[in-house]
Amino acid sequence: MRVFDFQQEQTTRFTNQLKILTYLFVTPLILASQSSYADNPRLKNKDSVKEDTAKSNSTKSDPDDRAQKAKDLSDEITIGREMASKLYGTYGQYESDANKVKYLNLIGQSMTREVGRTEITFRVGILDTDELNAFATPGGYILLTKGLLKLVQNEEELAGVIAHEIGHINYKHLYKSVAPKRDVSVGETLTRIISLGKADMGASLIKSVQEGMNTLLDHGLKPELEYEADQSAVTYTWSTGYSHMAYLNLLQRLSKSVDTKAQVLKTHPSFSDRLNALNQFIKENGMQETSKLTPTKRNQRFKRYMLTL
């Protein structure tokens, strides 16, 4: 016969009640302390929200973060400049009327001033080759081949080409895939010691440059990154007063004139795939044509600078 133990019954009941209370109240409190609930601006007064927002968005509030950003930018520019020098070394520098290069940079700046990364100085140069191609290196160097420039028919199309390359740089497509790792390897440490500190990330930067060149010249970027750059081309031109449809016209013309074995097709998706993706993007975003005819002055200056290539 079971003997009723009143005290044990009370203890058990109390324990159960304690457990219930724990589940219902303590668990949420534990979760609250772990989540970002305490940082929800809705719960704070306006002044502290402004202060927190300013702190989180200010580039001066976190010295370590700012220093890291500066180092990353410095690496990016160094790698990009070296890659640009190799492209010039491979294809040759097109030396001609300096006004041609300035004209290209005016087109570039008229867009990058509005849509470009503010910490980058974008520059546009010309490579002395009849190959049809355009390159964007990290750090803001855009190099167009003489061959491509000869195929372009107006300033609108030229703006589209440059805008495509601006997109690659804005999104750091190439730099993200070749950026040097922050952790310093044993070999690199040894290099620095022996070189008395003069080789600042030399080995890893050089490796990044080579990987970047392999991407540019051999296998190209992933197709989705090229599609993203194409979207940048139409978006940036459309947003800065150029005709975005001109870029599509150029791609269509390239699709008909480029040999299937051309270098550009080694490093880019097919023109038909690019055109399909772009037309879909334009339709989805309701990008109405804002400039059907190339304004007179644009026509005149394009002919003045580009038809003598």
Binding site: Y88, R113, S195, K207
Partner: protein, 167 residues
């Protein structure tokens, strides 16, 4: 079993409550463009509501394709996403000088010898360095230096843009 059910219930309540807060999070963006118009409607041809300069912080109210509906000092309008940035824009000189990081041409030329330095550290001879060199492409740094010298002033861009809009 009963306690297990209670635990699950309280966890469910807690999770849904705290995840709901994310919908209340307001996002701010910054104007990246040097100078841009805040539009009344989400299209390029719409009339201007205000002029915005670089660094201006905007509160995002809604998104429609490539456009953001934003609020600034009780003015509401639309701006294309391409003119905005999630972080406060900073110039190159400001960022690099502030942290004393050198990225000029001299520094780049110094780095051009680093492969030789690191190769020497690995004990390679000159022949091996050439054969194994990652610098298989020739470099033309003078061409890059020439390109770096091409300067485009703001006023020149203003004139260029204005001229380009003439019919």
């Amino acid at each position: 079993m009963k306690h297990f059910k209670l635990l699950c219930f309280s966890l469910l309540i807690s999770t849904s409550f705290f995840s709901a807060k994310s919908f209340a999070d307001q996002k701010n963006v910054f104007v990246k463009a040097k100078s841009i118009q805040l539009k009344k409607d989400a299209n390029n041809a719409s009339e201007s509501v205000a002029e915005l300069s670089r660094g201006t912080e905007l509160k995002v109210l809604a998104t429609q394709g490539l456009w953001l509906q934003v609020e600034l000092q009780n003015k509401v309008g639309w701006i294309s996403k391409v003119f905005t940035s999630d972080i406060k824009p900073v110039g190159q000189a400001e960022l690099l000088n502030d942290t004393k990081v050198n990225s000029d041409a001299k520094s780049s030329r110094r780095r051009s010898n680093e492969y030789a330095v690191s190769a020497a550290a690995r004990g390679l001879t000159a022949t091996e360095r050439n054969r194994n060199s990652v610098n298989k492409q020739r470099s033309n740094r003078q061409a890059v230096a020439d390109l770096d010298k091409v300067k485009v002033e703001d006023k020149e861009v203003d004139t260029f843009k204005k001229e380009g809009e003439e019919k």
